[in-house]
């Protein structure tokens, strides 16, 4: 589970991205994180991946205060999280399969296992036939699915997605959302930051609404 306790995040320059945020996200849940631009959605995700550190308060993942992590402990923590980005963040000089296998390579897995698991992840997102291609030759939807395959290839406990459907048309966006629900069925805690209100009414998902750095709606409380 993920818990924020009175978390404040102040960026240099004095901007408060989060103001005394306290939330509890259960293990194995799927949660939509919504709010206007600048409400603090991305900051919540960055605090979980330790791309940012809380100015005050505590961020607990599985009852551990992750802001105390240093050095390689941060890297090990990140290996338990799969991240999907709006702009995919794929490496252009690596093939689709190599991009997907990257988290496994980083974790020290052998070449054969990396290839096998990368292909399995690509198969899940329906892109196995494109494994030898380079990312720039794929459509935006395909690139996003490669990003998702990379995020889940390491079998993470938590899957975070920051505006994963932001650049996609509605049909492709629905397809991508289905994938997140599919992975959630495998006991992966999924948090999706999104503007897309069409998906927020899904009864299977929790909802956290942010406004000006504060929680304005919490389906878990």
């Amino acid at each position: 589970m993920i818990e924020f306790k009175q978390v404040v995040k102040r960026y240099p320059g004095g901007l408060d991205a989060l103001r005394h945020v306290s939330v509890f996200i259960p293990r194995g849940s799927i949660t939509f994180l919504t709010g206007h631009s600048g409400a603090g959605k991305s900051t919540v995700l960055k605090l979980i991946t330790l791309s940012e550190v809380a100015t005050r308060g505590q961020v607990l993942v599985n009852d551990e205060d992750i802001s105390l992590f240093r050095g390689d402990r941060i890297a090990l923590h990140r290996r338990t999280i799969g991240s999907v980005f709006q702009d995919h963040k794929l490496l252009p000089d690596k093939t689709v399969e190599e991009n997907v296998a990257l988290p496994l390579v980083v974790a020290g897995m052998g070449n054969r296992d990396c290839a096998r698991r990368a292909r399995a992840a690509l198969d899940k997102v329906g892109l196995l036939k494109l494994c030898r291609r380079f990312p720039q030759t794929l459509s935006a939807g395909e690139q996003q699915r490669v990003g998702i395959a990379r995020a889940v290839v390491g079998r993470p406990d938590i899957l975070l997605a920051d505006e994963p459907t932001g650049n996609l048309d509605p049909e492709l966006a629905d397809e991508i959302m289905k994938l997140f629900f599919l992975f959630n069925q495998h006991d992966v805690t999924v948090i999706i930051a999104t503007h897309d209100y069409r998906h927020l009414n899904n009864p299977a998902a929790g909802l956290l609404a942010l406004e000006n750095g504060q929680i304005s709606g919490d389906s878990y409380s």
Binding site: I74, R78, L91, V106, G108, N111
Partner: protein, 315 residues
């Protein structure tokens, strides 16, 4: 272990490809590094050659001891020779001395006759005016300071009139070589700093080109060691390429210099010879260059990663 080796070989291959893909900048960097490393390398080889000459001089050093005031005024020639032999035996017991050769008065006179071409004049002398002497061979391992100390000990011995040893010019030569070596060392240190800065700069450019990759790897759980690895190989390979170019430059320059300098030295009957690079020095150059490249990459990446992580903490 197998996976670790597999990963290192893979990174090494990728880094080689990285260098090969930009041949212009790789070659330019190698040439700049090569020129920077070759200068102190050539100076080192010249000073090494000079040191071998002084070593040879020390090995060939002999001290001539003349026996004089301590002996009785009118002592029979036989007794006088006996006295000199006794002094020689005392000298032989000094630990710094390897051997002592006794040269009798008659032999001294004979040598003088031959060398001075004053044979007839000397024949007219009623008695031999020249003293017997002792030629002292110091231990070969002695340095100039030890020889100087030995000369002082010999001069203070009872029965010794004077000691002849042309040490001043040797000391001067050794002082010149010491100064030359210090200069070489300073230049080598400055060049090493230069090499580190050059490689650091190319690594920094590499970081800029691959900043997206670094950030993604960092995001998906890459440790600092993993992020550093390709850059460490990059820096090390750049260092090695610079070292190889430096060896080629130095070999060519020493080869071109050796003949005229050795000929000149020969005209002055000097043993000075410019030696070409040996395997030991060549190996040391490659190892040191590789190490400098590794260090440059290590410090540059260390700073970058620390900065990247500090910015996450809002510092």
């Amino acid at each position: 272990m197998k996976v670790w080796l597999q990963r290192h070989l893979q990174v090494l291959g990728e880094t080689l490809m990285w260098l090969v893909r930009s041949p212009g900048s790789t070659l330019t960097t190698a040439l700049i590094l090569g020129v920077a490393i070759s200068l102190p390398l050539m100076l080192f080889k010249v000073s090494q050659s000079m040191m071998s000459v002084t070593g040879k001089l020390n090995e060939d050093s002999v001290i001539t001891v003349y026996v004089g005031p301590g002996k009785p005024e009118q002592v029979e020639p036989m007794k006088e020779d006996q006295l000199v032999i006794e002094i020689g035996q005392k000298i032989l017991q000094i630990p710094l001395v390897s051997d002592v050769e006794y040269v009798s008065r008659a032999q001294v006179l004979k040598d003088f006759q031959m060398e001075s071409e004053l044979g007839d004049l000397i024949d007219d002398l009623e008695e031999n005016p020249l003293p017997a002497m002792l030629i002292v061979f110091p231990e070969k391992s002695l340095i100039a300071a030890d020889l100087s100390q030995l000369v002082t000990v010999l001069a203070d011995m009872e029965g010794v009139d004077s000691v002849s040893y042309d040490q001043q010019w040797q000391e001067r030569l050794q002082a010149i070589i010491a100064a030359f070596m210090s200069g070489t060392l300073i230049m080598a240190s400055l060049m090493a700093i230069g090499v580190v800065l050059i490689i650091s700069n190319t690594v920094r450019l590499g970081i800029l080109n691959r900043s997206q990759e670094i950030q993604i790897i960092d995001q998906i759980g890459g440790t600092a060691t993993f992020i550093r690895r390709p850059f460490l190989y990059f820096g090390t390979l750049q260092g090695i390429s610079g070292g190889i170019v430096a060896l080629l430059i130095a070999m060519l320059a020493l080869f071109l210099l050796a003949r005229p300098v050795n000929h000149l030295a020969g005209l002055y009957s000097s043993e000075f010879r410019i030696n070409l690079l040996d395997l030991e020095v060549s190996g040391a150059v490659i190892v040191v260059s590789a190490l400098l490249g590794w260090l440059a990459a290590r410090f540059t990446l260390g700073g970058y990663i620390a900065k990247m992580r500090a910015s996450a903490r809002g510092k």
